[in-house]
């Protein structure tokens, strides 16, 4: 459902993505690992249509459509969700109101009537339970005054609420304590089905013990330089990135 071919992108005239290739099929989980600054978040931003990035080459198709032609909100409405590495705070807007607006905007784009209050409330409770989030938290302004871990959990809660087809998790595990990590991972696992897919960006193999990936990719200097199964994550955990870097310099 997602096909990235030789994607190149610049920011501030600096080439960050230097030819990415990635195929994601329904039901799959792909993990992307790689050293700091290798371009993982940049890839997530380009996929979700953030402004300021210039795509200089290659293509992205999503469900057969040219993704690059769609605005950020249209991509979201088409089922692409990003759990942000650094979630922002939105003063004056409760998470409940935020989710209600999001759900109804997405429905509107598909010509579906707004969700009834009852149905919304039920979903809110169910999904809060799924990620073990206190419903009281959803009454607070989006992420305002939340701890780092609470913000991450709130991202997964929003993902559960919106039921995306393609979920991209950008270092959702960073900043989570062990219990929260397990809860968040369980949440993702419960959302998994044969119709949706996940791209999980992480630095830690630990997360992949919970969310077991079908593929692991290593992003290095703007390119996917290695792909493998979940055993690749173990190898990286043990040996670090040096051997990959060496391989690259040899090439």
């Amino acid at each position: 459902m997602l096909s990235i071919k030789n994607l190149k992108a610049k920011i501030d005239n600096k080439e960050i993505l230097k030819g990415i290739n990635l195929e994601v099929k329904p039901g799959e989980v792909h993990a992307i690992m790689g050293p700091n600054g290798s371009g993982k978040s940049t890839l997530a931003s380009v996929l979700t249509g953030r402004e300021g990035y210039e795509v200089t080459g290659g293509e992205i198709t999503y469900d057969g459509k040219n993704l690059l032609e769609l605005s950020a909100e249209d991509r979201a409405r088409a089922g692409i969700f990003l759990a942000f590495q650094y979630p922002v705070e939105i003063p004056g807007v409760s998470t409940t109101n935020f989710m209600k607006t999001a759900i109804n905007e997405i429905r509107k784009s598909k010509g579906i009537a707004p969700m009834s209050a009852g149905e919304f409330l039920k979903r809110l409770k169910d999904k809060a339970a799924l990620v073990e989030l206190d419903v009281e938290m959803t009454k607070r302004y989006v992420n305002v005054g939340f701890s780092g871990g609470e913000k991450k959990r709130n991202e997964i809660f929003q993902m559960a609420m919106l039921e995306p087809r393609l979920g991209i998790l950008d270092e959702t595990d960073s900043g989570l304590d062990i219990d929260a990590l397990r809860i968040v991972a369980n949440g993702v696992n419960k959302l998994r089905n044969e119709n949706n897919a996940f791209v999980v960006i992480t630095h830690y193999q630990r997360l992949l013990d919970y969310i077991v990936p079908d593929f692991v990719h290593v992003l290095y200097k703007g390119k996917i330089v290695k792909s493998g199964g979940k055993e690749l994550a173990y190898q990286l955990e043990e040996e670090g990135y040096d051997w990959i870097k060496e391989e690259q310099t040899v090439k």
Binding site: E73, A76, L82, P91, G92, F98, A102, L162
Partner: protein, 478 residues
């Protein structure tokens, strides 16, 4: 003495220093004593009004335009303005097609019915508006209760004793430069009197009082709630008013006698100038109310228009146990400048005041809150709570807060809170990533932010004000 005789008498004193005759509808540019006399004559003022205007004018000559506000504009040439024009006859549009398409677009977005659009735009619709009959019905109902609701010109003639007693009693002509100017040359405005113990059964609004809707530049409003009376008054409307006048200087005086309550709501959406800061209204307004014992005055304002706003609706808490409130949303975009806030003057014992100010700045605009809380020596147990929030859209605009405190009583409790938040590309993208368009995201955030103030407005007004905030901010981020 009948009015006519009075008029004949004073008319004899006029010295027409210019060649135009009294039947003309528009004066040439410029301001001098003769202009003041001309206006007074045009309005058929009784002597006391003419005298008051002239005193105001003479005092104005001794004053300088205030320079302390955080606003910047080229010097205003007061001799380059026209001080009297009969209600916009020659400015009337023949049809809505002649109207600025931007204004028309806004009308449509606000969902304003066609006849009302024509009325707001100044298209000659005269008798076709349904509201005319509405007005009459209202008037009858109100007069049954002894409520007086008319233009200030009418009040000056029909109820001179009330006008004499209260006009200038809260905002004397000597108060400030713009108040003096207004007192000298005001052409019309609204007058409300609610008798003792009467609760006005409906929201009073200039909007319904059609004959005074085009009063233009120098509007004068006087509202008196007698002991134990209640009234809620709405000024303006949410659609942009087409207006060629650059300079506006209105004065509003509220008098809440013992146990009375006045709620005054404004939605100001005068022409704000274009994207590059060209054109737009300079709005210099003096609004003040005075409370008797146990009385309450509440100001609510949503200010989105004008290129310059200079406005500090204030309350003098003279009576013991009286309450003053100020709820404000001031939005500036492009090159607009607003310097607005309030003064709460605590004189009586156990007086309370509450200030909630929400500034929203976008584009290259500058938005300042300026507020004074003064507690006099005798104001035992006075309490004030102030909340001043600023919301910035993008990073080319400015928000400023100037709170002043002058506390002369040790038993006073004064609390002040202030926050600043910024809506940048990151928040807009975050919302977009959840499927919410920029336009909807801005509306969502701004309405959440302004909710406490909007909640003070009557229901239909609040809904329109909400839409107006969103429209005024279109395309302001990113």
């Amino acid at each position: 003495m009948s009015e006519d005789i009075i008029l004949d008498k004073i008319a004899g004193d006029y010295e027409w220093g210019f060649s135009t005759d009294i039947d003309m509808d528009t004066l040439p540019k410029g301001l001098n004593e003769d202009v003041v006399k001309f206006i007074s004559k045009k309005k058929n003022d009784p002597t006391f009004m003419l005298e008051w205007r002239l005193k105001a004018y003479k005092h104005w000559l001794t004053l300088e335009e205030p320079q302390w506000a955080n606003i910047h504009h080229p010097p205003i040439d007061y001799q380059d303005a026209i001080y009297y024009a009969a209600p916009r006859k020659e400015n009337k549009l023949n049809s809505l097609e002649d109207l600025d398409p931007k204004i028309k677009e806004t009308y449509e977005k606000l969902g304003i019915p066609l006849v009302e659009q024509q009325f707001l735009a100044g298209v000659a619709v005269d008798a076709v508006m349904d509201s005319v009959s509405v007005v009459t019905t209202y008037r009858e109902k109100l007069s049954d209760l002894g409520i007086i609701f008319c233009s200030i010109s009418e009040a000056i003639k029909e109820h001179p004793e009330l006008v004499k007693k209260y006009l200038g009693s809260v905002v004397p002509y000597s108060d400030n430069f713009f108040a003096a100017l207004n007192s000298a040359v005001f052409s019309d405005g609204s007058f409300v009197y609610i008798p003792k113990g009467v609760r006005c059964p409906m929201e009073l609004s200039t909007y319904f009082r059609i004959n005074a809707a085009n009063t233009g530049q120098f509007e004068r409003t006087l509202i008196i709630a007698d002991e134990g009376a209640y009234v809620s008054y709405l000024e303006g409307c949410t659609a942009p008013m087409r207006d060629e006048n650059q300079l506006h200087a209105a004065v509003v005086e509220l008098i809440a006698l013992d146990n009375a309550e006045i709620k005054y709501s404004t939605v100001q959406n005068w022409y704000p100038g274009d994207k590059n800061g060209k054109g737009g209204i300079y709005n210099f307004v003096t609004k003040r109310g005075i409370c008797g014992e146990n009385a309450k005055i509440s100001w609510t304002q949503v200010e989105t228009g004008s290129s310059i706003t200079w406005k500090y609706p204030s309350v003098i808490l003279k009576g013991d146990n009286s309450i003053g409130e100020f709820y404000s949303v001031a939005l500036t975009n492009n090159y607009q400048q607003a310097d607005t806030g309030t003064k709460m003057i605590h004189l009586g014992k156990n007086t309370k005041s509450r200030i909630v100010s929400k500034g929203i700045s976008a584009g290259h605009s500058q938005n300042s809150y300026r507020g004074l809380v003064r507690v006099g020596k005798s104001a035992d147990n006075a309490r004030n709570y102030s909340q001043c929030d600023s919301l910035l859209m993008g990073d080319r605009c400015g928000a400023h807060t100037f709170p002043y405190f002058d506390i002369k009583n040790k038993n006073a409790t004064v609390e002040h809170e202030a926050t600043t938040s910024k809506i940048g590309e990151d928040i807009i993208f975050y919302c977009g990533q959840r499927g919410i368009s920029e336009e909807d995201a801005v509306a969502l955030i701004v309405n959440g932010y302004a909710k406490e103030v909007l909640n003070q407005l009557p229901m239909e007004f609040a809904v329109e004000a909400q839409k107006l905030l969103a429209i005024s901010l279109e395309g302001s981020v990113g």
